[in-house]
């Protein structure tokens, strides 16, 4: 039986975390709390990830301010066990589980050599670009066609107006499943969060603009778990948001309005509904960072280029490379709750790698 080694005496074996969003921050915090060392490498110049970089107003489903929530997470990693490299990227990697050698390159200060016992890829997602492959909904044609992300920015500024004329909208709708569940686009998966985010934003719009009628056109509302009664039901029952089954086929401009053309499937009849603002509920795709890090570490990706986890239902964070874990939306669409949970799982498994290495066991 090999002699146990106190991991705190192995400063050369921190755990590398790539990405400083919700998942990366949670992993770093967990690692530090257990007395191990973490190195966060974040491409942007700030921590907080997409909720901060995309100016989210409030989180789903609890309406907590994104700045506030991320601020709490960022504060939790301001401790000696966590080394933070902002404006930096991992540009080279070699070695193996227990002893990775990495080059971390800062845009300002140039390359640094970092050693790590394990790595956690927490590079997240990017929002689907609704003009990427098809102009079906005219995102780049009509000023008043926006995305969930654009509306989030407006909500944060507490000013929801039609981009075309600066007037508050009288009728606003969401179109669900834009960029998700679509074989032609290549994203066959459900992005999980858009139903909840649309319902959350619909409530916020109704609160901000009580005279604005709000509609959500959907295929099926996917409000799993508590989101059902936390956001979906209140949006309908308390905030009078109208849900109509059947997403629109196209948007045409008519005078001052956008006409949403589709079929109302519960009534089995065509619909042509005038709107002032159309919000496209865009889904998730792997971020550039996720694709780059998967390639750099040689981790397998699935057909959508999200990082493949290899443990099936029983291990949701192990990549195809030993000593390399992945969590959050780098492995597929995930909300913040899911990301936090998988980050903790990745932290635990990364520590196991480091500890086993230190103890000389496999």
């Amino acid at each position: 039986m090999p002699e146990a080694v106190n991991p705190e005496r192995n400063p050369e074996n921190p755990i590398l975390i790539i990405g400083g969003g919700p998942a990366g921050l949670e992993a770093a915090k967990g690692i530090a709390e257990l007395g191990y060392k973490a190195v966060i490498v974040e491409k942007a110049n700030v921590l907080g990830g997409t909720p901060i970089l995309s100016s989210y107003a409030a989180l789903t489903p609890d309406f907590r301010s994104a700045e506030d929530a991320m601020g709490e997470m960022i504060a939790a990693v301001q401790r000696p066990e966590v080394d933070i490299h902002l404006g930096s990227q991992v540009t080279a990697v070699s070695g193996q589980a227990g002893a990775f050698d990495l080059t971390v390159t800062s845009a300002v200060d140039g390359p640094t050599q970092v050693q790590a016992g394990a790595a956690i890829i927490a590079t997240g997602f990017q929002h689907f670009d609704p003009g990427r492959e098809t102009q079906q909904y005219g995102y780049y044609e009509h000023d008043d066609v926006i995305t969930l992300v654009d509306l989030e920015r407006m909500l944060k500024a507490e000013q929801v107006v039609r981009p075309s004329n600066g007037e508050p909208p009288k009728r606003l709708c969401f179109i669900q499943c834009v960029g998700s569940r679509d074989r032609q686009i290549g994203n066959e998966y459900c992005s999980k969060v858009c139903c909840g985010v649309a319902a959350k934003e619909s409530i916020e719009v109704r609160k901000l603009l009580p005279d604005c009628k709000v509609f959500i056109f959907y295929i099926d509302m996917r409000m799993y778990g508590y989101w059902e009664n936390e956001i979906y039901w209140p949006s309908q029952e308390k905030y009078k948001v109208n849900y109509v089954k059947g997403i629109a086929t196209e948007i045409v401009k008519k005078g001052d309005h956008l006409i949403v053309r589709g079929e109302d499937t519960t009534m089995g009849r065509p619909m042509e509904v005038p709107m002032d603002i159309v919000v496209l509920s865009v889904g998730m795709e792997p971020s550039e960072g996720t694709k780059q890090m998967a390639a750099m570490f040689g981790a397998e990706v699935n057909k959508y280029k999200f990082i493949e986890t290899v443990g099936g239902a029983l291990n949701t964070v192990q990549t195809s490379v030993e000593g390399v874990l992945a969590c959050g939306a780098a492995t597929g669409p995930a909300d913040i709750e899911d990301s936090i949970s998988s980050a903790s799982a990745a932290a635990m498994k990364a520590i196991a790698v480091v500890r086993k290495t230190a103890m000389g066991v496999s």
Partner: protein, 426 residues
């Protein structure tokens, strides 16, 4: 409401001749289509329902459609809460729509509704507003007026309310003579006036006497319990009738009331307490079921019987066993259940004002609900359709005739079967 097709025939315009600048340019191109309405989502109309106290839950419908197969009106028509929601959302003003008057408040939709959209609250609330606006089917208006003037929906003389008792073999004691009794029998309107209701009342009076139950009736001092009028939108009338009945109950210090009518049971249990009525109410089947062995039922009836659960006894008030226990205790009764029974029971069409809306409903359904139910009863092969709600004897007897099933099926109150088995009174 007609189904909305893309092109309605009335929206096709075709001129025989088109003269333009003095020149006849007629041809097949004369046919034109009116542009369809595009502004047809109307959250305002949903909010209008939601703004009425009691109407709020309609806005919670999320279109799962479980209510549609459960709705008895939809079986013979085009109806149900989900459809009402969608029609309102797409332009129907419920306050002015025929859809407002088709619901029988049978509660089968609420039984299956995950969002608790409650037609038992929505319908009376919106109907009340429609009444105030003078929008009410005339046949229902007549019933409201009768109830107000005579204390019963049929417009019968209030002085004759206890006249049925003369047909009973035994004395039917009046509270005004007795002053006090263990039990007040609230006879209600149809059992007092309708000939077939009277048959059941006479039978019940006999059984109460045999069991030596100390009871009295109010006779002329009784007025309609009015629960169906309440559900049809007349809450003011309901309160006026309740005030009168409660005054009588107080006068005789009534502690326990037995009803023949499940609608009265519902009113007394659920509505009267808020108006100051503190007393126990029991349906006659619940009272008698445990005492059937005390009756000398000597005749073996040798009949197959199927039983119709009244909506307001079963779903609304949870009593499914007592009527069945009574039937099973009668010698020679072979009880066969219909497919739709107990919690899933079909509706006779009489609740929530439906009792008085058959004329109106004929324009909206392919057959009466009672006819649909009688057809189901006949399919079981039963000789007798047993009932224990006074609306049902008349409704189902009419339906037996109109569906051509005379001679195949007879409709009887359970209590009539009991006295048949007891044989002629000596």
């Amino acid at each position: 409401m007609a189904s909305q097709r893309n092109v309605e025939p009335e929206r096709i315009i075709e001129k025989e001749h088109v003269i333009q600048d003095g020149m006849d340019i007629s041809g097949h191109w004369n046919r034109m289509f009116e542009q369809r309405v595009i502004w047809d989502f109307t959250p305002e109309l949903l909010e209008k329902v939601g703004a009425v106290e009691g109407g709020e839950s309609l806005e919670g419908c999320y279109q799962c459609a479980q209510c549609i197969p459960a709705c008895p009106v939809n079986t013979v028509g085009d109806y149900g809460p989900r459809r009402i929601y969608r029609r309102v959302q797409t332009g129907m003003d419920l306050f002015e729509s025929p859809d407002l008057w088709q619901c029988t408040t049978c509660m089968n939709c609420l039984r299956v509704c995950p969002k608790e959209v409650d037609m038992m609250k929505i319908m009376p609330a919106v109907r009340q507003e429609a009444l105030l606006a003078g929008n009410v089917p005339p046949e229902l208006q007549e019933v409201f007026e009768n109830t107000l003037e005579y204390g019963n929906p049929m417009g019968e003389s209030p002085k004759k309310r206890a006249a049925w008792a003369k047909k009973a073999a035994d004395d039917v004691p009046l509270m005004k003579d007795k002053k006090t009794a263990d039990l007040l029998w609230f006879v209600e309107c149809y059992p007092s006036y309708h000939p077939r209701g009277v048959d059941a009342s006479v039978a019940l009076a006999r059984v109460l006497k045999v069991l030596d139950i100390d009871y009295g009736i109010l006779g002329q001092e009784e007025k309609c319990s009015c629960d169906s009028q309440r559900l049809a939108g007349e809450s003011g009338l309901f309160e006026e009738m309740a005030e009168h009945n409660l005054k009588m109950f107080k006068r005789y210090k009534v502690r326990k009331v037995m009803v023949t009518d499940p609608h009265a049971l519902n009113a007394f249990r659920k509505e009267y307490p808020a108006l100051g009525g503190k007393f126990e109410t029991i349906h006659y089947t619940t009272l008698l079921a445990p005492r059937m062995s005390e009756l000398a039922m000597k005749n073996d009836l040798g009949i197959k019987v199927t039983f119709h659960d009244p909506c307001y006894l079963g779903r609304h008030n949870g009593e499914y066993e007592a009527p069945r226990d009574m039937l099973k205790a009668i010698p020679g009764v072979d009880l066969i259940e219909m497919g739709r029974c107990r919690e899933q029971s079909y509706c006779c069409g009489g609740g929530g004002g439906g009792m008085w809306l058959d004329g109106f409903m004929s324009g909206h359904v392919s057959m009466r609900l009672s006819e649909e139910r009688v057809t189901e009863a006949v399919e079981t092969g039963a000789d007798v359709l047993a009932v224990c709600c006074p609306y049902e004897v008349s409704r189902f007897e009419d339906a037996v005739k109109s569906t051509g099933n005379e001679g195949k099926l007879v409709v009887k109150d359970i209590i009539e079967l009991v006295t048949e088995s007891m044989g002629s009174a000596q």
